[in-house]
Symmetry: C2
């Protein structure tokens, strides 16, 4: 999309716009168009200072200055669309569905409505798709619809500390922008807050240069729903099932959200419906104020400038969580500041004193009812749906804090094959194998060894969730992955090569719940590696690992048995040959000798 | 930083601000403060429509609407600082130096000045540091200094297609913002464009709510430099040498930029100086217009609306690269549109027709002098500085295109140990080992095997560059890493476990040069996985791999020799024991037999 603005033409467009009388467009277009007005008229290059340029083609401070200007956040993300999860057509389809569904689930839960979300994807041409997501949420009031869907960085979830799927106010507008840029088609929104058979209908397209919605249609339409919202986005996309697909996302969403009903209609006509497994909504997470420990000096200074509190004590008790009047007194005493000191009278040094006093004061950890786990039971139940296994375990950690943000880690693992499946054989085989040396058993062993080795080569599957949203991309960039690969799975009896996932028939599920999940990019695909987060991840994984280790040990013993045996079987023939030469024996004798050798070696090995 | 604005207080602050007479602050504060004015006075919750909420604590469409508002780009990045590379104090120090140095190098090169950059880091307290970066660049004109350093998304490099280190107009302002938020101290800038012993001096701090600079000091000061810029930022940081450190960054920068001189003063007092190895600057990359193939339908529609061209043919030839009048005629013919058709008369269907016609028309690939490689010779020279090795090779691919953006991939590898180092021993040992079975040789072999195995366990080192800037973080998220791990290094004789880097004494260097590097985050630490980019990476790595494979094969044969031998040696004693039982031999006989066995087996193995 960068391609639309070559340096020259965009500069001209801007001054055109800026010179317009401040009409609707003019007023709307901010801040990008403003700057050029302030800028003085371009000066002739000759007037520029004699920069030590070797050739005229080189730039000077003046020529550079002329090129410097603001970039609208929409222009930025249009050019950097991969930051939002639109790097290729297949991913674009997933991201669009994801943003719409996540918003629907947030809205329903905040309004206390058991979510029923319908997802339909229609293929209009080889590369042209239409995504329709309809929910039974509270709806969106008319005046906010254009902003919510036609402006990046607009929403209700950013300026608060509360666990929710969306946080940034970017996602759904970005999906609309991507649709517009790839197909030229506007976003269509139908929303009703009080039913009566009517709904608001909008057609919007984002003006990337000003990051504001252009309203194309704004009417009322018939709608049979009492309340809810429908979003329709046309986009260039590619549909393909399997890992990282829309199907995959919906399945994992159902796993982590048993209270949600999802009705899905795929472009190939298939229909899937995930019924809510539980009637009750998860408890509504509480919104909290920042915790003093997480606040930095510069931020504290800013808060002192911004607060409406009169006295410093009032400031501390009103702007922070866990600061009672007593605690405030203690902080101020340590800082050497009077309780009733006026906020206005506070200087930089006072702020510094308060900042350091906070670190020295014992303050309760943040309230923990602001982060809601999925729960061990539910994690295992969900895991059972994806993978049949012989062993399951899960653990939910108590909440912790990074940069003042409460968060919580939970993990679950599934290991091995359920009873009765083929690969159970080697264990059995090894059990009586020592007494019985008949060929078919050997074959079985060989096969088992092979199978075991294959499984060893196979890396574990990792399923990641953040605030109940499946993370399908950028596994390599995710703190969750870092924690899994940094964990020493060998000590739990699994194979693992350095810096890699453990290998074997293992599935690992990890969920991070937080009032503010630190994602590594706006596409919210991976969790950033804050030390406190990594620590909790490690502890959760170790708890699961220990339980898994106990279960695994015998499996490992069996595998080693089989390995040793396979070595011997590998070398005995060579040895037979060798012995023939040395003791020059007959073939018959050699065979006999080899069989005896095996038996004896088996036995000695067992002693 | 999010913590500063609890939902309630920030709403109040905003309406306060908004209701102010539009003074400096009011005018500056956009777009955030505007919205609440539009919003109607809060309605009592009873007045809200009867949403099916189970309890009053649940939200309604109205209560949600009241909380919805704009988020300033500074607020966004302040809360998501890890997106900009400020996730922890150590990384914050690196990022700050990196952004300042990259800007200096860009400015010098654009002005045709051989860069001489001085980097000084002073430790003011345990966690409080000061970074000072001074360059001999063209300087920054006074009126632009506040914008360049005090506003996110402001710069000259975004609205153009040209290879440079910076592209987003975020980095240095973000470093200043981080410094402000962690220490409360403003950024200090000294800059001179024409010398005469004077320079502009500014103290700035960014207003995160409005994303505009607050100017604290604006004066003229004495400066002995004819031209250049100095930036001083105080920040909360941590200094630690080793991988991913400032030292690491500067060393790798010197490797990829032989024309640059860097003078570094570390907080621990150490001083390092990297002298320019070559006198000439690399050729100045040419700026280009977008290539038609990279433009999407929606973007094309937008360009048609924005262009100043009168006729469609004019539009095509003036807005795109590689579109001659002849090509334009051809496109329009295919689209069934008259050459002299007016742009204004073009509708959505015409745009669609042109879009499809473009795909059907043969158009020259983009000009390639807009991407400048480091060069095979220079890559190897650089690599030699980091790692001594027995084998080096490099390859520079011809430029390719992703989404219309020209880019170029080059790769180099260093393998093994230089002549004469211990690990050369096993090869020699294996050479004559077959004739000679004395114990010490066996010990040597055992040691060699062990050593070989250790090396096998050690993953290769990967060094990544984008537009000559070292990428030190998020290796796991990088397309370069994906390409390396996806390459089948086994076929070149290296060990590699699935989805992992190859293992062995190997160092891989990869450089991507592009008019627009698609980074996975604003911190510019990893390249996004565009299919075209992955393909070029693969091809470059395979070219190096093939050359490496030829060199490696014999090394591998030796290793296998040693492995086989070690197995035999492992089992012969057990066999001895077994034979004693079977043929009940004397110890003496057993020893003799074992020695003979070894010899025979060695021999048979060689046949």
């Amino acid at each position: 999309m960068a391609k639309k603005t070559t340096r020259k033409s965009s500069a001209q467009r801007r001054s055109q716009r800026a010179s317009k009388p401040a009409g609707k467009a003019g007023a709307k277009a901010k801040p990008a168009p403003k700057k050029p007005v302030k800028a003085p008229p371009p000066q002739p290059v000759e007037a520029a200072p004699p920069a030590p340029a070797k050739a005229p083609k080189y730039a000077t401070a003046e020529s550079m200055a002329k090129a410097q200007r603001s970039i609208s956040v929409s222009e930025f993300f249009a050019k950097n669309r991969h930051l939002l999860g639109f790097d290729n057509p297949r991913k674009a389809l997933l991201t669009t569905v994801k943003e719409a569904v996540d918003n629907s689930l947030d809205a329903c839960e905040e309004a206390g409505i058991a979510p029923v979300v319908e997802i339909e994807i229609a293929q209009l041409s080889e590369t042209h798709f239409k995504v329709i997501v309809t929910d039974n949420g509270p709806g969106i009031v008319r005046r906010q619809i254009p902003n919510v869907f036609g402006q990046l960085l607009y929403g209700s979830k950013f300026h608060r500390l509360r666990m929710s799927r969306g946080q940034q106010g970017i996602g759904i507008s970005a999906a609309g922008m991507y649709g517009l840029l790839t197909t030229g088609r506007p976003v269509r929104i139908t929303s009703s807050t009080r039913g009566r058979g009517k709904a608001h209908f909008y057609e919007l397209q984002i003006d990337t240069r000003s990051n504001r919605p252009d309203i194309i249609t704004d009417t009322e339409t018939d709608w049979d729903r009492p309340h809810g919202t429908r979003v329709e986005i046309e986009l260039e996309a590619k549909y393909q099932r399997g890992r990282q697909s829309v199907d995959d996302y919906l399945e994992q969403t159902a796993i982590a959200n048993p209270h949600v009903t999802l009705a899905y209609k795929a472009p190939d006509g298939r229909e899937a419906r995930y019924e809510a497994g539980v009637k009750d909504l998860p408890p509504l997470p509480r919104e909290i104020r920042p915790h003093p420990y997480g606040v930095e000096l510069g931020v504290l200074i800013k808060m002192l400038q911004d607060t409406r509190a009169k006295s410093v004590q009032q400031f501390l008790t009103s702007e922070f969580s866990r600061v009672s009047p007593r605690v405030a007194k203690e902080i101020l005493a340590t800082a050497g500041i009077r309780d009733n000191a006026r906020v206005r009278s506070m200087g930089g040094d006072d702020a510094k004193a308060i900042y350091h006093a906070v670190q020295k004061t014992k303050i309760l950890a943040p309230a923990t009812d602001c982060v809601v786990p999925i729960g061990e039971e539910q994690l295992i139940a969900g895991l059972r749906q994806v993978v049949p296994a012989e062993f399951f375990t899960a653990t939910t950690r108590r909440p912790a804090v990074y940069r003042g943000n409460p968060f919580l880690i939970e993990a679950a693992v599934a290991y091995g094959r359920p009873e009765g499946e083929p690969a159970a054989a080697p264990a059995a085989g090894a059990g009586d194998g020592d007494e019985d040396d008949s060929d078919d058993v050997h074959a079985a062993h060989a096969k088992a060894v092979e199978q075991e080795q294959q499984e060893q080569g196979q890396l574990a599957r990792l399923i990641r969730f953040a605030n109940r949203v499946p993370l399908l991309y950028q596994q390599g960039a995710c703190a969750i992955t870092k924690a899994v690969t940094a964990t020493n799975w060998k000590s739990y009896g699994l194979a693992q090569s350095r810096g890699a996932l453990p290998s074997g028939p293992l599935t690992i599920v990890v969920h991070m719940a937080s009032v503010w999940v630190p994602f590594t990019s706006e596409s919210k695909e991976a969790v950033a590696s804050y030390p406190e987060v990594l620590k909790e991840l490690r502890l959760a994984l170790q708890e699961c690992g220990r339980k898994l280790g106990q279960h695994i040990r015998k499996t490992v013993r069996v595998r080693q048995e089989l390995k040793k045996r396979s070595y011997i079987e590998k070398y005995i023939p060579a040895i037979g040959e060798a012995l023939r030469d040395i003791l020059d024996l007959k073939d018959r004798q050699v065979d006999k000798l080899c069989t005896d050798l095996k038996t004896v070696l088996e036995r000695t090995r067992k002693l």
